[in-house]
């Protein structure tokens, strides 16, 4: 970190100022002048929190995407379909067994198995042909989307929040100060906070696995130089299958999460595919930390934009991506290869 500050003093200063202003806006009670410009603080805080929790969901989807890309150079454009499939399966399981928590392991295993089948039956046969693999994933996404439409129809589903996560909780964030001097704290849906915590846990877990274990070492070596790893006689294919299964399973689980705090309907697959694309383009291909940063930035941009300029919120996300591409084509935390 010190080296980054030394190399890029101006950029660091800029980042510091932005983070500082954001932190002040979030933590401090607003003076009337700020409220006059930006509306009540409650709205802003809600937008920021929605942005962060949406970023958590995006991270769950995009981390698998970026991991698969980094290792196998395979842009899995069927990733959104896996997300939607996981959501529908999760809905069915939660609906039939009545257990929201049970849906997670079952969906993870089911979608991961589908990932294994895809990797074995399709992608391994066209290894190294990146464009063809990508086209195949497009074909798969068309087929899966239509099958899902045939099975679950065009209506929208919402997975019920379990009782222990339902309702709001009070956060230690001041929205306003009453004339009596008593502070009003923000109330926010409990389930979203727990999803945020879970996503952070998943992120830290992935980071630990990748940076501290033997299989993580294999993955990192594969990202850096796949051919050399294979030439060293290590089980590259096994690593590929494991990573693909994990990424697919994570997308499926993210489907349950998305189905709980948003809804599931045809078209969500492309929405989340687009979100993953933008997240990894902004964050940098193949980097888990990049996916986390990208997801956070994209989520915040989308939600804050949605509150303050509803018509143009999509454009903000796009402008963000264009700016990153123009000034740092490899993504914020990506490495040039």
């Amino acid at each position: 970190m010190p080296s980054f500050v030394e190399r890029r003093p101006l950029t660091s200063l800029f980042i510091l100022v932005v983070v500082g202003v954001l932190a002040w806006l979030i933590l401090a009670p607003w003076p009337p002048g700020v409220t006059a410009v930006m509306g009540p603080k409650r709205v802003f805080l809600a937008a920021v929190l929605s942005g962060i929790t949406l970023g958590a969901l995006y991270f769950l989807v995009a981390s698998g995407f970026t991991l698969i890309f980094g290792l196998m150079r395979n842009v899995n454009l069927a990733h959104g379909s896996l997300y939607l499939l996981g959501g529908y399966l999760g809905f069915e399981i939660a609906d039939r067994t009545g257990s929201w928590l049970l849906a997670f392991p079952v969906v993870f295993v089911l979608v991961a198995l589908l990932g294994v089948v895809l990797q074995y039956a399709v992608f391994r046969r066209m290894e190294g042909e990146e464009l063809r693999q990508t086209l195949v994933t497009i074909g798969l996404s068309i087929v899966i989307a239509d099958l899902l439409l045939a099975i679950w129809g065009g209506r929208s589903y919402q997975i019920l929040t379990p009782d222990f996560l339902a309702g709001p909780m009070e956060l230690p964030l001041i929205t306003a100060v009453r004339p009596s001097g008593e502070a009003v704290y923000l109330r926010y849906p409990r389930v979203r906070i727990w999803i945020l915590i879970a996503a952070i846990a998943v992120g830290i877990g992935m980071w630990l696995v990748i940076n501290r274990t033997r299989i993580g070492m294999l993955i990192r070596a594969g990202v850096d130089d796949r051919e050399m790893l294979a030439a060293s006689g290590l089980p590259v294919q096994l690593v590929f299958v494991l990573v693909f299964a994990f990424g697919a399973g994570l997308a499926g689980v993210a489907g349950i999460v998305g189905g709980t705090f948003q809804s599931l309907s045809p078209g969500e697959d492309t929405r989340f595919l687009l979100a993953s694309l933008v997240v990894v383009i902004v964050g940098g291909m193949g980097s888990i930390t990049g996916a986390a940063l990208g997801a956070l930035i994209v989520g915040l941009t989308e939600q804050i934009g949605l509150v303050y300029a509803p018509t143009y919120s999509v454009v903000f996300t796009f402008l963000l991506m264009a700016a990153v591409l123009a000034f740092r084509p490899q993504g914020l935390l990506g490495q040039r290869r």
């Binding site: 399709v122 990508t134 687009l274 694309l277 509803p310 018509t311």
Partner: protein, 358 residues
């Protein structure tokens, strides 16, 4: 490879060319003459539905897919932005020209809004190209797909310019020379003429110095840069040229449907163009038209076929998806590739005189 490709494109005519000075029309292969003749006299035998729905739509989708074929086949850049460029051109026709949505449409004359639509859409395509050429291969797909989706969501949310979810209705071609160009026969000839022009333009550009340099850039960008070619400029210019084609297709599309809405350039439509171009074949300009014909026939008659087999008629996308998968899986260069391989196998058959394999 570029040179070899060129020789194949020209076929036997090119081999014979040095023998005697020939007129340009003598070098056009016989198959093209035959296809042209059949298409010209099609209205004599085909009904209105076939002319307007099947062939009109085929030509339009073919033109848009042709622009993708130009980028992918000659430039090596698979761009998913072409349908969006076409959609923007269609929107511009609806916004600048007359339409049923009078509070937005400006109602200018056709000789203003048609060039303006092409110009604006081309500018947009060039801008996107300038962004996309900073990346390569699969990154290009991702970035253009992201921009295409952004355009879709933007048109759906923006009411002041794009009239949001409803889009524009009653967008009809101008009644030039007293002809209603939306009637099947005039529209057939209009779209045929545009398709033929676009086809000829691609064939010409591919053999012009620019096209040859572009193919050189596709095959070895570093060597072309060392030879003094401006690689980035060639790529961006390729996007501009492809955008012109796509916007012609887009204008025809809005006239054929008489309406335009966000779904016209939605993500499924964007993917469809890729499917058409890949299924037809990305090597030669005729591929997209073959792909478009297959796609149109499938989408028109699949419901009937599906019902005969006792399946739900709305599973047509499934067939398209599986067909696309099969094409990518078994013949990455599309129907044209199948044809080429068939020809190659025939040529490789045993020599009839000696019995030895050639």
């Amino acid at each position: 490879m570029a040179v070899a490709g060129e020789a194949r494109l020209n076929g036997p005519a090119a081999a014979a060319a040095p023998a005697a000075p020939t007129f340009w029309f003598e070098r056009i292969p016989a198959a093209l003459w035959a296809t042209g003749a059949v298409l010209l006299f099609m209205p004599a035998i085909a009904g209105d539905f076939v002319l307007f729905q099947i062939f009109g739509w085929t030509f339009i989708l073919g033109i848009i897919a042709l622009s993708l074929m130009f980028l992918a086949g000659y430039g090596g850049m698979v761009s998913l932005i072409q349908m969006t460029v076409a959609g923007l051109a269609g929107y511009m026709v609806a916004i600048l020209g007359p339409s049923g949505t009078e509070q937005v449409s400006l109602g200018l004359a056709w000789w203003i809004y048609v060039p303006a639509a092409i110009l604006i859409a081309t500018l947009f395509g060039t801008l996107v190209g300038a962004l996309a050429v900073r990346t390569e291969g699969i990154y290009t797909i991702m970035i253009t797909l992201a921009i295409a989706s952004a355009f879709f969501y933007f048109t759906r949310q923006n009411y002041t310019i794009f009239n949001g979810y409803n889009g524009f209705t009653l967008v009809v071609p101008p009644a030039l020379f007293g002809i209603d160009w939306r009637r099947p026969v005039p529209f057939y000839y209009l779209s045929l003429a545009c398709a033929a022009l676009c086809y000829a333009a691609v064939v010409y550009v591919a053999r012009a110095p620019f096209g040859l340099a572009l193919q050189g850039v596709r095959d070895n960008a570093r060597r072309m840069a060392a030879l003094g070619y401006n690689v980035v400029a060639h790529r961006i210019l390729a996007y501009s040229f492809a955008s012109v084609l796509a916007s012609v297709g887009g204008i025809l599309l809005v006239w054929q449907n008489a309406q335009i809405a966000p779904g016209t350039a939605g993500i499924p439509a964007v993917i469809d163009i890729l499917v058409i171009a890949v299924v037809g074949g990305l090597r030669r300009p005729v591929g997209p038209f073959i792909g478009a014909l297959i796609y149109v026939l499938l989408s028109t008659f699949a419901p009937d076929v599906l019902t005969t087999f006792g399946l739900a008629p709305d599973r047509f996308k499934l067939i398209v998806g599986i067909g696309f998968l099969a094409a990518v899986y078994f013949s990455p260069d599309g129907v044209l590739g199948l044809w080429d391989r068939l020809m190659a196998r025939r040529a490789k058959r045993a020599d009839p005189l000696t019995g030895a394999p050639r």
